[in-house]
Symmetry: D2
Subunit: 127 residues, 4 copies
């Protein structure tokens, strides 16, 4: 996923604000899943969805206004109720800005862990 | 309402990002209403709430990191289904940073305009 | 400009948070200018830039998670130091969600109004 | 630090958006430091500041609109150039929502690690 940086992504330190990378990760995960036939909106309509259980982020280098970042996303681990995404965010010069790991748990309306539908489990580990 | 400015409120221009003042206005409206016994959460639990129909903002002077802003809020107009808030945001030196006017409409779950409960109407024009 | 809606754009009312449309407007203005050879980053490097002086927004219909919005942008007025953008934001069904008008002033480092470079003035009214 | 939750903190899942807790952590760190005589603004004026090098967050339970969160902050580790903050965020019922660990590095203008001024080092480990 490509992500262009705008004013609203940055802070007065002149760089992308540290929390905003988590928005980019959400976008990248969503696109990753859609590419594999997993539509978040359809899951939500069934009263099921993923919640973030854990987030790790290493900030390696700052990204700046007008940069175009590339967010690479892979599934590094998955089970019937859990999936861990590993992300690398690079700027237009190929420099790594952020390395991140996000643990998601599949839950029902009451936030109880739930076994993922088969097309979700298979989709996550396809390609 | 007093509002301290943090990194997350600012952008790489070194000032508060123009959209973020609307968050401060939300906070100020909520406090204004609570001071008058109008609890948004209670209205929401009834399936009713206010939606913003129109927003006007004049940006007079920039606010900066570590500033402490004061948001003054008055009701400048109100009817059975609508209320207009007028806001002035000043910095710690008394300088006006933002003047804003927000029009809210009271609606039901289907976003149809609805007459406000009496305690809401009366609360808005009290004091 | 097309804008996909993610969780981070929405609020617990189930719709796009009213301040977040201003981020979309920033993105749309930036793209509009780049299409006309006006690179914000180059202006900033000269110590000059646009500041938002006034924002008007009419919220016509809510946008939701997973919507794809289209932001249409035109220059409705411009002078040597000022430009007014008019925006319409529609959802994927062609419904107007937001109508907005943004007044920008061209300024120097001290936030004093400044006459725009010729390629900026011409670019804004081209096409 | 107490933190009231507003619409702008939440998402359409009805809970606080996962990235927004990092804003609360920034606010809590700033207040923690100020209580110990460390004013970020003064450091910035010297061309020095802290950057976040690593963030870990465990999301234990969701926070909701109108909740009042308490953010507890301690220094769990510190050296001449680095400090690790440990945070716990609880809601008004005492339930832990978030546990987080933030690693900050003290740097100069070129983002090179730099030994902290003595009042900063001492302040961080005081009380």
């Amino acid at each position: 996923m490509q992500k262009r940086i705008y004013y609203h992504d940055t802070d007065c330190g002149g760089v992308v604000y540290y929390a905003n990378y988590l928005k980019f990760l959400e976008e990248a995960r969503t696109e990753f899943m859609e590419d594999r036939g997993i539509l978040m909106k359809n899951l939500i309509d069934r009263g099921e969805f993923f919640v973030v259980a854990r987030q790790e982020v290493d900030y390696k280098a700052p990204a700046h206004y007008a940069d175009t970042l590339t967010v690479d996303t892979i599934v590094s681990e998955s089970s019937a109720v859990k999936v861990i995404f590993s992300h690398e965010i690079r700027n237009q010069h190929g420099r790594i800005c952020v390395v991140a790991k996000t643990t998601l748990v599949y839950v029902d309306k009451n936030l109880k862990p739930k076994i993922m539908p088969e097309h979700v489990r298979k989709g996550l580990i396809s390609k």
